[in-house]
C-alpha cells in the first residue's frame, strides 16, 4: 500500500467547494484525508460529496457515538454522500473535522463501495464519531471528487488530501 499523494488543497481563503478532478487511472484504490470547518452560523454541518459531477446514485449506512448515545441511520437514492459532521462558526474555535475516506477499485466497472470515519472533537458535549458504509451505484470510473459544505463555505486552513494506493 504505497500511498502516493495525487493532490492536496489547503485553503488560503474560504471556498464554497473543493474538487479533485482528472484523477489519474494509475492506482488500485483512493484515500482522502480531510480536515474541514465551515464559516456558517451554528455548530455543525456536513459535507456533500459527489463523484464525477453526478447528482444521483448515492446511499450510506452509518453508526455514530456522541458521548451519550450510540445510534445508526441510513439514506438511500440520495444526491450525494453526506459526511457528518464538520464544525462551523458556533463550534469551539480552531476545531476542524478529521475525516478519512477509503474508495477501493475506483477504476473497476462496478458499483463503488466506500468506507469513512469522521470525527468531530471539540471539548464540548457536541462531539461525535461516525463510521460509514457508502455506496455509489454507478459503474463508471471515478475521475473527480467534489466536497461542498451543506451550509456556508470551507474556512481558511481547511485541508483536503487525495492519495492513490497501489
Amino acid at each position: 500500500m504505497a500511498y502516493t499523494l495525487i493532490s492536496s488543497q489547503t485553503l488560503a481563503s474560504s471556498a464554497a467547494s473543493v474538487t479533485f478532478s482528472s484523477i489519474p487511472s494509475t492506482y488500485k484504490d483512493l484515500v482522502l484525508r480531510v480536515s474541514a470547518r465551515s464559516d456558517s452560523a451554528g455548530t455543525f454541518t456536513y459535507h456533500k460529496i459527489t463523484f464525477n459531477g453526478s447528482a444521483s446514485g448515492y446511499s450510506q449506512t452509518y453508526i455514530y457515538g456522541n458521548g451519550s448515545t450510540a445510534g445508526t441511520g441510513l439514506t438511500s437514492a440520495n444526491t450525494e454522500i453526506d459526511g457528518y459532521y464538520i464544525p462551523r462558526a458556533g463550534a469551539t474555535a480552531s476545531t476542524f473535522s478529521s475525516d478519512e475516506y477509503y474508495i477501493p477499485s475506483y477504476l473497476v466497472a462496478q458499483n463503488k463501495p466506500l468506507s469513512a470515519n469522521i470525527i468531530r472533537e471539540n471539548n464540548t458535549t457536541a462531539a461525535d464519531i461516525y463510521a460509514y458504509a457508502g455506496l455509489y451505484s454507478n459503474t463508471s470510473t471515478i475521475s473527480s471528487i467534489a466536497f461542498v459544505p451543506n451550509a456556508g463555505n470551507y474556512v481558511t486552513g481547511s485541508s483536503f488530501y487525495l492519495y492513490g494506493i497501489n
Binding site: 500500500m1 504505497a2 500511498y3 502516493t4 499523494l5 488500485k28 484504490d29 446511499s59 450510506q60 449506512t61 452509518y62 453508526i63 455514530y64 450510540a70 445510534g71 445508526t72 441511520g73 441510513l74 438511500s76 437514492a77 477509503y102 477501493p104 477499485s105 473497476v108 462496478q110 458499483n111 463503488k112 463501495p113 466506500l114 468506507s115 463510521a131 460509514y132 458504509a133 457508502g134 455506496l135 451505484s137 492519495y163 494506493i165 497501489n166
Partner: protein, 161 residues
C-alpha cells in the same frame, strides 16, 4: 506521507471461488493489512483464518449499525474471525489490520466492513484475537457462500518505523 506499506500480493477472482489464500507470508514486516472488495453469493459474513487453524482459537467483539439498530456483540472460542455482515447483491469493502503477526504473542486484529445496499446495509468495526503464539504465515478468506467473480483481496506489509 512516507511509503511504509509494501504490496505483498493481490488476487482478483476470475470466477467465483469459496476462498482466497495468501501463503508463505514472510516475517519481513511489523503488521499486515488486508483489503477485500467484492461480493459474496450468500448474505452473511466472509471469514478469516490463520495458518489453516480451524479450531476454536478465535474470538471477536463487534460494534455495528444497520440503520435501525446500533449494537455490540461478541463471540468467544469460535473457529474463525467474521469480517462483517453484508448482503449478496452488491460490491462491499472489508479491511483488516493484523498486528505483530510474526511475533510469539497472541495475534490481534482490527477490522472494518462497509456494506451498503441503497436502502439497507451495515457498517462494522470488529476487533479479533487469535490465541496462538505461532507466526502467521498464511491466511485464508472464506466467502459466505462463494466469493464472487471480480472480488479482489490485497495483502500489504507494514514496515517497522
Amino acid at each position: 506521507m512516507a511509503i511504509t506499506y509494501d504490496l505483498i500480493s493481490s488476487q482478483t477472482l476470475a470466477s467465483a471461488a469459496s476462498s482466497i489464500t495468501f501463503s508463505s507470508i514472510a516475517a519481513s514486516w511489523t503488521d499486515l493489512r488486508l483489503v477485500l472488495t467484492g461480493g459474496i453469493t450468500v448474505a452473511g459474513s466472509p471469514t478469516l483464518r490463520f495458518n489453516s487453524d480451524a479450531t476454536t482459537n478465535y474470538s471477536i467483539t463487534t460494534l455495528y449499525g444497520n440503520g435501525t439498530s446500533a449494537l455490540s456483540t461478541s463471540q468467544t472460542s469460535t473457529n474463525k474471525i467474521a469480517l462483517g455482515d453484508a448482503g449478496n447483491s452488491n460490491v462491499y469493502l472489508w479491511t483488516v489490520d493484523i498486528f505483530s503477526y510474526a511475533g510469539s504473542t497472541y495475534k490481534t486484529t482490527l477490522g472494518t466492513s462497509a456494506s451498503d445496499d441503497n436502502g439497507s446495509g451495515q457498517v462494522s468495526n470488529i476487533v479479533g484475537l487469535w490465541r496462538s503464539t505461532s507466526a502467521i504465515t498464511s491466511l485464508t478468506i472464506n466467502g459466505s457462500g462463494n466469493l464472487k467473480s471480480g472480488t479482489t483481496a490485497t495483502l500489504y506489509g507494514i514496515k517497522a518505523a
